[in-house]
């Protein structure tokens, strides 16, 4: 969706203000919420695609006002309501055994890749191919930033096969496909109003057309 989260190229947010000697967490509740976000998907299946979809659905003014962990709290509550864990009238989904303390280190080390087997998934593009990012404006979740849509670029790498967030977030399955790093000449994106030279963006095959 064309949401406030899609910030690349916007003006007016002011300078970047790094915090000196920044702690990992700024409040005890941030610790607990972060840990919940990591432990919960073991017992109540949801993916980052679903979490991002819920964050992006928040009203833009709320998105800008809230801290990042507050956005996560809102999104997790929505996902839990959708799965019938929090009250809201939805049927409760089947849950899985919880993350045991002894399994924490192994679970972090294992990760949760969205990479899918390459076998049988053809790559439409090769490194060096000229492509155009499609000019699409889906109302649902997408990882195609607005600032590259309809812009020409060059494939610099095929990163392998991954599940497709637009489909997964919509509950339409994984739709595995190749992801490419596409390099855009900064002037093709912003004209003369840029101080970048190249911007490289990782794009799923469904976001691209040949040129």
């Amino acid at each position: 969706m064309n949401g406030i989260h899609d910030m690349g190229g916007m003006d007016g947010f002011g300078p970047v203000v790094p915090e000196k000697d920044e702690p990992v967490f700024h409040a005890a509740w941030e610790r607990r919420l972060f840990a919940l976000s990591q432990a919960l998907p073991v017992s109540v299946p949801f993916s980052d695609d679903h979490l991002r979809r819920e964050i992006e659905r928040l009203p833009p003014a709320d998105y800008l006002r809230m801290s990042y962990y507050e956005l996560w709290l809102q999104a997790i509550r929505s996902l839990l309501a959708e799965r019938g864990i929090l009250p809201g009238g939805r049927a409760r989904i089947a849950t899985q055994p919880l993350l045991a303390p002894a399994m924490v280190d192994a679970t972090i080390a294992a990760g949760a890749t969205t990479r899918q087997p390459d076998e049988g998934v053809m790559a439409r593009f090769l490194a060096g191919d000229g492509v155009v990012a499609r000019n699409i404006h889906p109302a649902g979740h997408t990882r195609l930033p607005r600032y590259v849509r309809d812009k020409p670029g060059v494939v610099v790498a095929d990163r392998g096969v991954f599940s497709f967030p637009d489909a997964n977030a919509a509950g339409e399955g994984l739709k595995p496909q190749h992801v490419y790093t596409v390099a855009f000449d900064a002037r093709a994106l912003w004209g003369d109003d840029t101080t970048a030279d190249r911007v490289c963006v990782d794009l799923w095959e469904d976001y691209l057309e040949a040129r």
Binding site: G8, M10, M103, F162
Partner: protein
């Protein structure tokens, strides 16, 4: 204390109560174990942070074969040093050279290579950084005190998919006599994001 501070305190208190209530409900339903939450927090506050990435960088600086592996298969090379997993399952390392500087951003959210850099700082997730890093990166770098020569190519990497990036900074001049550990001590988190030089 200003009215704004009061509002902020009240808001923080409200958030703390809401997170506590959520945790309690999930514990009662048998969906999370509070001891597991403690261990997760401990991992990210003590073991998983930018010192890990600094060790990777130092190894790449002293061992050309390792550097080559890091630049061709970063996930496997980083795993050689014992790092990997959540939010680092598919790593790419991009190398700064005298001709090219790399800068990382996630314009859509806050994607960041946790196993090597830990959890992202607030500024990395801020609207100010995410909006400008792809359009006016030299302006952003100036706010970090970094000025690149005009002929240095500035390449920005927007982690819009499930690859996670780390910058391999240039080894500072005059460090030929330093060992791996001392070199790792020179490497900063921002140097591995691209908002600082090492």
């Amino acid at each position: 204390m200003t009215a704004h501070d009061h509002d902020h305190d009240a808001e923080e208190k409200g958030l703390a109560l809401r997170v506590k209530a959520l945790e309690q409900l999930l514990v009662e339903q048998g969906l999370v174990d509070p001891a597991a939450l403690d261990r997760i927090v401990e991992a990210y506050e003590t073991r998983i942070g930018p010192r890990n990435g600094a060790r990777v960088v130092a190894r790449a600086w002293i061992d050309p074969a390792y550097r080559a592996r890091l630049l061709t298969n970063a996930t496997a090379a980083i795993a050689e040093l014992g790092y990997g997993g959540m939010q680092g399952e598919n790593m790419v390392v991009v190398e700064n050279t005298p001709q090219r500087h790399n800068l990382l951003v996630c314009t859509l959210c806050s994607c960041y290579p946790w196993p090597v850099l830990g959890l992202p700082p607030v500024w990395y997730k801020s609207a100010a950084y995410r909006s400008r890093a792809v359009k006016d990166p030299r302006g952003v770098l100036a706010e970090f005190g970094v000025t690149l020569a005009p002929d240095v190519e500035l390449r920005v990497w927007d982690s819009s998919a499930e690859l996670r990036y780390m910058v391999l900074p240039q080894r500072p001049a005059g460090t030929e006599a330093l060992g791996e550990e001392a070199l790792a001590g020179l490497v900063t988190r921002d140097g591995m994001i691209g908002t600082a030089l090492v």
